[in-house]
């Protein structure tokens, strides 16, 4: 009996803090269905490619992706040639050359994606004092992750009558404090998808959220696959050890 009490108490001791983390976010963020949820969760490559298109055409005007290089897009199913062509669409600064001058050249697959602003001060002054955060890790850096990103992008609304918005701010149901410096960006047909997918606002927000989950956790698929193998192997070891233990202990437990 006391074993069960102890076990229950131990479980409670471990579960309580976990529950408290969940309770921390004050705004309820509904959970969405994602292809990367679950034990064998994986990225829907077409969706992530569409999301990249959204980033390129909409978000990249203000938000950087500082940890992403062009070469990373090969993981999304682009060929090496496509990645080279994609990189060549961009110009990056290089140098100094033999005369000591910096120069512009076409980007290579090993280059990082160019940032929209040269530095933080510039970014702030271009955005009324607000700093558009880098998006590489945003899906891991906010409570709710991709669910939050999706609802944030769709959460713009009229401010309640009793709320006074500061200058240049927008009302958003899901942003902590409800006043967000980013204006509403995602609307129906904001982008035209190359693969012909219907581009309503929900779809756009969903795709770009999936893309940002990929930029934050590009190794997720290999992690899930590795994990499955590791768990099965550990389970095998544990079962073997259990039977070996029973067999060896049988010698003394008979007494």
């Amino acid at each position: 009996m006391r074993k069960y009490i102890l076990t229950a108490a131990a479980a409670l001791a471990l579960a309580l803090p976990a529950a408290s983390f969940a309770a921390e976010a004050e705004i309820h963020i509904p959970a969405e269905k994602w292809s990367f949820n679950g034990i064998t969760g994986h990225f829907d490559k077409e969706q992530v490619q569409r999301g990249f298109q959204v980033y390129k055409e909409v978000c990249s005007a203000c938000h950087s992706l500082e940890y992403i290089s062009f070469r990373n897009f090969e993981a999304l199913g682009y060929s090496e040639a496509q990645v080279k062509a994609l990189a060549a669409e961009y110009e990056v600064e290089d140098g100094p050359d033999d005369n000591g001058d910096m120069f512009k050249r076409k980007a290579k697959p090993s280059d990082k994606l160019p940032k929209p602003y040269p530095n933080e001060k510039f970014a702030r002054s271009a955005n009324g004092g607000a700093l558009p955060p880098d998006l590489s890790l945003i899906a891991k850096a906010r409570h709710g992750g991709p669910d939050y990103l999706f609802h944030l992008l769709r959460g713009y609304d009229e401010a309640p009558a009793d709320m006074k918005l500061a200058d240049g701010m927008s009302y958003n149901k899901y942003f902590p404090g409800h006043q967000i410096a980013m204006a509403k960006q995602i609307e129906d047909d904001k982008v035209t998808y190359a693969d012909g997918t219907k581009s309503d606002a929900d779809q756009i927000a969903r795709d770009v959220s999936a893309f940002l989950m990929w930029t934050a956790e590009p190794k997720m698929e290999v992690r899930h696959a590795t994990g499955l193998r590791v768990i099965i192997f550990t389970l095998l070891f544990t079962v073997l050890a259990y039977f070996l233990k029973r067999r060896i202990w049988a010698r003394i437990e008979q007494h």
């Binding site: 290089s69 033999d98 090993s110 095998l236 070891f237 070996l244 067999r247 010698r251």
Partner: protein, 188 residues
Amino acid sequence: MANTAPAHPTHAGGAAGETRRDFLLDMTVATGVVGGVMMVWPLIHSMNPAADTLSLSTTEFSVAGIAEGMGITVLWRGKPVFARHRTAAEIEAAQKVNLAELRDPAKDADRVKKDHENMLVLVGVCTHLGCIPLGMKPTDPRGEFGGWFCPCHGSEYDTSGRIRRGPAPANLEVPPYSFVNDTTVRVG
């Protein structure tokens, strides 16, 4: 885990079911050892070049400004790459050598690009123990064969970068490279 195996037989006793127990023991120990070994690979592999290191493997540079008889040194994969603009006499000397005399026989024509025979591109690392041979500055000693001289242990290379004397076993390596245009070389 490894320690458990040899000590076991002293305790196995002569009880019935011994065969099965030993099989179980072997399986369990084997699984544990294999699991441990499988965990070693990610550790070792993490020391291999990372994806960003591998992707930075090309370097482009201009050879337009190199005067005859002179050379430049550029960095590629953390190593120096020599590009020397050879004189007609140096090219002739390199081509005339009797291959049978060489420690590491190689034709000069195979060590340069066709129609760019005047431009010799080499990894500037001595094949003995990795020092950088002298010979890129006008004041440097170039050894008896007019190419490069390694100050560490005295290896001498000719005007094709081939080993001629000293402890080095092989010629200076020719990196994978190509001419993007007449004056631009891309290494890697």
